[in-house]
Amino acid sequence: MDHEKGNVTHRLQAVNPLVPVPRGPVPVIPPASPRRKVRVTVDGREISVPEGTTLLDATRAAGIDTPTLCYLESLTPVNVCRICVVEVEGSRTLVPACSRKAEDGMVVKTDSERVRLSRRLILEFLASSVDVSTSPQVRAYMDRYEVHPERFGPSQAPSDGRDQARAGVHITSDGSQAAAVAQPVKADNELYLRDYGKCILCYKCVEACGPDAQNTFAIAVAGRGFDARISTEYAVPLPDSACVYCGNCIGVCPTGALMFVSEHDLRKAGTWDESRQTSTETICPYCGVGCTLTLHIQDEKIVKVDSPIENGVTHGNLCVKGRFGWQFVQVREKTQSGGDAS
């Protein structure tokens, strides 16, 4: 997306500003006549943005990097992580920048004590309950906000009962350990793993599987409160669910909770090394849609495939063939190196 000054994109605005929130398809707006500008003050600097711009885009236009976790350009904002909150003068609570629209005369503070406190605690809550080791994004924010998740005590050991949790029931502990979502990895198919001990419940995979991209609805949020979790119906394994292995959920997951088996195996062997990886853009050979693929390559082997989110054809989405159907490339390599040229 382009975020050059004052030139914020509107591709993602809802058709009707009154039809908002939850989980709808990404509405696409035909180019409209130039819109009215509104003036907002961001950290003391007055800027002017087109009406309908979110505060996130407004702060970005002002050159401020507002953190986000559950927001993605290609998905409908769910505004659940609350890491993006900013202070708006006159508002009782902080407001989520990713989904609140800029209004004329708004005075916004993006780095006040209140904002920093909320962001710091949100990160501490997450890091004390979720394994964030494979989320560079969360870890960068943790450095920025100087968080100390250990203030809440050592995290609980993994439990395999999360899929059986009942709404409105929990066992009160003595508080010496911080409740965590740690649990065994779900390895039920050959293509990707679900390690929900790393899940921050950002809803992105649900949106990508559902109305924002794939319309397959294999996974949804189940349970309530701390036991809320991403699940298939009755937590059945993926091969029994509606999953079509497009991997679009993997493409949007910010934490590595959803991961290619190929990546997981390398990480386990200790040989995963992003500094040694290159990426190559190409076009998927399978069908006429012509999706752009980004091949991530380490040691001359494809280790995973995705598609640029800003790509006009895919918006980051692929189907099972483009996402996972590349093994043949390596099979040929093998046979070639075995001297058995085809």
């Binding site: 609350r82 609570t93 406190l117 003595d174 699940s231 509606a242």
Partner: protein, 649 residues
């Protein structure tokens, strides 16, 4: 089943269907169903709500002549999703839990993806998505019941039935701890539910350790025909059975009339207000409500006149009867004892605002109120007070009732919309507000039961004279839910401005040890006040001045034998259980808040007690500042108010 139709084989299970996913938008969906086939009972349960399937595309037998080779699709196909919650209720009541085959069949009928339906079913406390005995005893262990010996009760139940959730009575029954059941005036309270061919629900309040088990046994075995639950004014609204009853306005019929009889209701002045409203017209009603300066009684204290702006062209009127705030039971009393008044009030509000339809979202744990209301709706419809051509005036308006299923959060207005729509009861982000984008994406007015019942008075007396009652900022009469250590608990009606001390005296004074330690105002989301603050006038502005709030009208007394810390632990556990889990500050803040209090409880603070209390404040602030909805924003309020007033740790 459907798939076989499509593919001619049973193994494949993809059905291309076109369904409407989101308001007004249509999307292609690969609806995938599982291979589970419903039994006759499961099918009956679902069909009891949806009717018999008329096509092979909807789970019925396929008839090629009729069903052809392509499905009827388009907008209609997903348009029944709002029936998901009633269908889940039917499955739970028939099967005792939400079975995979029944859910799958329901998904086929409603065209809902099974993963989403499972997400909805697993959201509610009253539904079980794992096998469970048909009979369930819900024992309230919440704060009002804690003042009336609930610990002994739970211990006795546990010793006889085993740990909560385990099957007992030969696998026929189980028991569960429950948050406040809204029966606090008769604490300790319990609710029994029985699934099967003749599902039933029964309240036991007050429950005694001696008799509860035998009641459960006969209920589980359905050996005797149980007398239906009844409303007792002397137990629930003591004022209504005392002298001075004539001064009551909101409660004037309570305990006097037969709640089932429309004629009785009319003999006590019922439906005069509707006639008057139709005579003077909708804009007059709206103006009078504005002049009355009526303020919403649901907890948020929003001026009703402002909400009732006809310029918004509201499509739906929703009556919020989810009443789940611990300590609140006023709406239940009104609905059980005077159901027609609510139906009349909704009709007046709905027709005055030009709404197409009214919804009542009733708390799932209120079986008697549900029975009374559905009876009242039916009779009102038969007698021409509801439905088409109301009172022969050519006005159409009807009311639909929906039952919640054990989720406090569904009282939050936007979560309530999602719940009715068949989605998870997760609050939406505001703005836009319900008056702009509400139920089914249309402008909607939401009001509390008590708020609406006040409209009857306003229509009959006029807004100005209504506003003469009470104080400048808080007009009219107010219902308070008096519970805990008070001599005569129950719902009390007083004009705004009555002090806390006066109200407690009306309730017969402090019970228990007789020495008052604390009063909780406004429920778990409210605040504690100390005996030094008894002269606080019970008004919106008066309570605000002492840093408290009226909330939903809870006034819960604790004597000096109560360990307030235990009350705080229960409140912390309540919010952890009831958070919808959507946003990080509340989902995890409520957990960390409880853990922190438990560390203090077990005298194992990390660092010093002061450091822990400092951390607790930070947790409270991020919940207040960054949560999406009122639940997270108030989850620390009562706890912080107590720590401000007493040194508890």
């Amino acid at each position: 089943m459907v798939l076989r139709v499509l593919c001619g084989e049973s193994s494949s299970s993809l059905l291309q269907a076109r369904v409407s996913i989101f308001q007004g938008k249509e999307t292609f969906v690969d609806a995938h169903f599982t291979k589970d086939h419903p039994t006759a009972a499961e099918q009956q349960a679902v069909d009891s709500v949806l009717g018999v399937p008329h096509s092979g595309w909807k789970g019925g037998p396929r008839r090629p002549d009729r069903d052809g080779h392509s499905a009827v699709n388009g907008h209609r196909l997903g348009a029944d999703r709002h029936l998901l919650l009633p269908v889940l209720h039917a499955i739970q009541a028939r099967m005792g839990w939400i079975t995979p085959a029944a859910l799958n069949y329901a998904c086929q009928r409603l065209n809902v993806p099974p993963a989403e339906a499972f997400g909805v079913a697993s959201f509610y406390g009253l539904f079980s998505v794992t096998p469970r005995p048909p009979c369930v005893l819900h024992v309230c262990d919440d704060i009002a019941c804690m003042t009336r010996g609930v610990e002994d009760l739970c211990r006795s139940v546990e010793s006889q039935l085993g740990p909560a959730g385990s099957p007992s009575l030969n696998g026929k029954a189980t028991w569960l701890r429950s948050p406040c059941l809204g029966l606090c005036e008769r604490a300790p309270a319990a609710l029994m539910s029985r699934a099967g061919e003749k599902p039933a629900e029964k309240v036991v309040a007050p429950a005694s350790p001696q008799s509860l088990l035998s009641k459960l046994e006969s209920f589980a075995n359905a050996t005797i025909e149980e007398p239906p639950d009844r409303f007792e004014a002397s137990a629930s609204a003591p004022q209504a059975s005392q002298n001075g009853h004539s001064r009551l306005v909101l409660l004037r019929r309570v305990g006097r009339m037969d709640p089932a009889s429309l004629d009785d209701y009319r003999a006590y002045g019922g439906y005069e207000a509707l006639r008057r409203a139709l005579n003077f017209g909708g804009s007059w009603v709206v103006r009078e409500v504005l002049n009355s300066r009526l303020v919403g009684r649901g907890g948020a204290a929003f001026p009703t006149g402002k909400k009732w702006d006809p310029a918004n062209q509201p499509r739906y009127l929703v009556c919020n009867a989810d009443e789940s705030e611990p300590g609140t039971f006023k709406d239940r009393v009104v609905m059980e004892a005077d159901p027609y008044s609510l139906i009349e009030a909704i009709t007046i509000a709905g027709t005055a605002l030009g709404c197409e339809r009214g919804y009542i979202y009733l708390r799932g744990e209120y079986p008697l109120a549900g029975e009374r209301l559905s009876h009242a709706i039916r009779v009102a419809r038969e007698r021409g007070y509801l439905g088409t051509n109301i009172l022969g005036r050519g006005v159409d308006f009807d009311i639909e009732m929906r039952r919640g299923a054990g989720a406090y959060i569904c009282g939050e207005e936007t979560a309530l919309f999602n719940s009715i729509e068949g989605l998870r009861g997760e609050p939406r982000s505001k703005p836009p507000f319900p008056t702009q984008v509400g139920l089914f994406g249309k402008p909607t007015v939401v009001n509390n039961v008590e708020t609406l019942v006040n409209v009857l008075l306003i229509v009959q007396e006029g807004g100005e004279s209504y506003a003469a009652m009470g104080t400048l900022g808080s007009t009219g009469p107010k219902l308070f839910c008096l519970s805990g250590h008070v001599a005569r608990p129950g719902v009390y009606e007083v004009p705004f401005g009555t002090t806390l001390r006066e109200l407690i005296e009306m309730g017969g004074g402090v019970a228990g040890s007789g020495q008052l330690k604390a009063v909780l105002l406004g429920g778990a989301a409210g605040s504690f006040v100390s005996p030094a603050e008894l002269d606080t006038p019970l008004t919106f502005e008066g309570t605000r001045a002492v840093g408290a709030s009226l909330g939903s009208g809870v006034v819960m007394l604790f004597d000096d034998s109560v360990d307030l810390r235990k009350i705080l632990f229960r409140i912390a556990a309540f919010f952890r259980d009831e958070s919808c889990g959507q946003c990080v500050p509340c989902r995890l803040g409520t957990v960390r808040q409880e853990e922190l209090l438990q560390r203090l409880n077990h005298r194992k603070p990390m660092g010093s007690v002061e450091a822990e209390l400092g951390l607790l404040k930070e947790v409270g602030q991020v919940m207040r500042d960054a949560s999406i909805c009122g639940l997270g924003q108030t989850a620390s309020s009562a706890i912080e108010s107590a720590l401000r007033r007493w040194q508890l740790f």
